[in-house]
């Protein structure tokens, strides 16, 4: 006789960074089935955008996610530039790529640290956090902030690279090449960490294709997918980017947590190489197409149509689709498809056959950004949008009172 139990993990759990609920069906310690329940942190950002003009929405899109904030900003900006045909000068494109790579380094090092934390390897966690400070200092030097940089704008970037910053970046590259390798070896050569991560949360190559995994999760399953190679944007068209897949380094892709760890750690080295190439090839000239914000706002007011922006965020491909209407200041609609949203479909598969104690590690192995993921689309049964605004709802509520009053207080 077998008895199964249902155990929830989350929405608030010590092993999770953000609120998400996983309902696990257990047979003893073994996970038979997993169901994810989302919706604990939906904020309605797309709806807020409808009351704001594109320049205001830049900073709103930055608040979708704290860690990959620049990726969301850039995807949104590229979508607007796509529909309004704003051209970006080459120097602006290079600085954008530079910030993207700095962000990738900071995101991946943060994740590697947190992965160590969830398996109880606290020494490596603190080491990872200490490592990350260096790139955070650099981002602060360039943009003034450690997160939510506010550096991108339509037609380029807002602040230029100074010679001191370029020197600090080269110092940082040297620092990471020297100091990050011990961190990698500490975790990947540790027999206990290996035993803890190898064979856990497996997602096969076929499943990754079928359930549309993206980014490092897909690459850890052996898929050569990287938008920086397949659809180059900004400065990546000038420099070849090879997707980091475990079979190139270790002979075979297992698609488990250790492979995801390896892919992210190896991508840090790839980003260091790219940063060097970006600094070497940095073109001269203006870094923004138009500095007068009034002119930008006026040209965006005239723009009409639907624009797409797709970039490779630290967690996978991030898609923003924006629509503007001619003659109106505000954004008409805006759709965000965050990388975690795409990868989350394959999430329940990773749990099957693992032990309950592995569940927080598997949840974390996706590098989930639940705040990015929680998007909604309001439709009616016919598939077209049917949104009731606050004013309309209040109007309906008052109308009901009036009807009641007219009937003399009788409900029917």
């Amino acid at each position: 006789m077998s008895t199964t139990y249902k155990v929830p993990i989350g929405p608030v759990h010590v092993g999770l960074k953000e609120p998400v609920t996983a309902w696990l069906t257990l047979d003893g310690e073994r996970i038979m089935d997993a169901k994810l329940r989302l919706g604990a942190i939906h904020r309605g950002i797309e709806f807020m955008a409808r009351e704001r003009n594109p320049i205001q929405v830049i900073y709103l899109s930055e608040r979708i996610c704290g860690i990959c904030s620049f990726s969301h900003v850039l995807a949104f900006i590229r979508a607007i530039e796509d529909l309004s045909a704003i051209k970006v000068p080459p120097r602006g494109q290079y600085i954008r790529s530079l910030v993207l790579e700095l962000e990738r380094i900071h995101s991946h090092i943060l994740w590697s640290g947190v992965a160590c934390y969830s398996i109880g390897f606290d020494s490596a966690f603190h080491l990872g956090m200490e490592m990350r400070e260096r790139v955070m200092d650099l981002l602060e030097l360039l943009t003034g902030n450690r997160v939510n940089y506010g550096v991108a704008t339509f037609g380029g970037v807002r602040w230029d690279i100074t010679p001191e910053f370029a020197k600090a970046t080269r110092d940082m590259i040297k620092f990471y090449r020297r100091e990050f390798t011990p961190f990698r070896d500490i975790v990947m050569e540790d027999p206990i960490a290996q035993a803890r991560m190898r064979g856990v949360g497996v997602l096969t190559k076929e499943e990754a294709v079928r359930y549309s995994a993206v980014g490092p999760v897909a690459r850890a399953s052996g898929l050569r997918v990287d938008l920086r190679k397949s659809s180059p944007y900004e400065a990546y068209s000038d420099m070849p980017v090879e997707p980091v897949v475990p079979q190139d380094y270790f002979g075979a892709a297992h698609g488990d947590v250790l492979d995801r760890f390896a892919v992210r750690v190896l991508e840090v080295y790839q980003s260091l190489d790219l940063l060097e190439k970006i600094l070497d090839g940095l073109p001269d000239g203006p870094f923004v197409a138009e500095t007068n914000l009034n002119k930008v706002l006026a040209s965006l007011k005239k723009a009409e149509g639907v624009g797409w922006g797709i970039i490779e965020a630290p967690r996978g491909d991030d898609t923003h689709i924006v629509s503007l209407k001619g003659g109106e200041d505000n954004v008409l609609w805006w759709k965000v498809r965050a990388p975690t949203y795409a990868s989350a479909v394959s999430w329940p598969l990773m749990f099957r056959g693992n032990e309950l104690a592995d569940a927080p590690l598997i949840i974390n192995s996706l590098d989930p950004c639940v705040s990015c993921m929680e998007r909604t689309l309001t439709t009616n049964a016919h598939g077209d949008s049917n949104i009731i605004t606050k004013q309309e709802l209040i109007k309906r509520c008052r109308e009901k009172t009036d009807t009641l009053r007219a009937r003399g207080g009788e409900t029917r």
Partner: protein, 136 residues
């Protein structure tokens, strides 16, 4: 079992402390009392050159064009029609510095001030901070 981490731990024994305890080295008996006494606060690490802190507003210079309100993502600026000036709700400000860029007379600037949490929302409104001082 001697693994790679021991080498790192041994190295860390002889390296400096990486963090700057702020606002105090040890948790004071009352945090509110400690914060109200500025002398007792351990100095923070100085902010960077491009740091964007609390907004400074030169009221005399302002011409009331409302352009800052058009670009403010957080709607942190309010217009006072009787005086044709703005007030800034610092608790709403998201420190993007977009208003300082669009301001035609440059009456808005970013300062380096960051420790400004407060229980008093009304007291956290900037009405006038005088002419901008270089390096402030």
């Amino acid at each position: 079992m001697f693994t790679r981490i021991f080498q790192q731990l041994f190295k860390n024994l002889f390296s400096n402390v990486a963090t700057n305890p702020f606002p105090a080295v040890h948790m004071p008996p009352s945090l509110t009392d400690a914060l109200s006494n500025p002398d007792a606060i351990k100095p923070p690490i100085p902010v960077g050159e491009r740091f964007r802190g609390k907004l400074r507003y030169d009221r005399a210079k302002c011409i009331g064009c409302k352009l800052c309100m058009r670009v403010c993502p957080a709607n942190a600026t309010d217009f006072v029609p009787e005086e044709k000036k703005i007030i800034i709700h610092n608790d709403k400000c998201c420190f993007c510095a977009q208003c300082t860029e669009i301001c035609p007379v440059k009456c808005l600037t970013m300062s380096g001030e960051f420790a400004m949490s407060s229980y008093d929302r009304k007291g956290n409104i900037t009405k006038d901070s005088g002419a901008a001082v270089a390096g402030a």
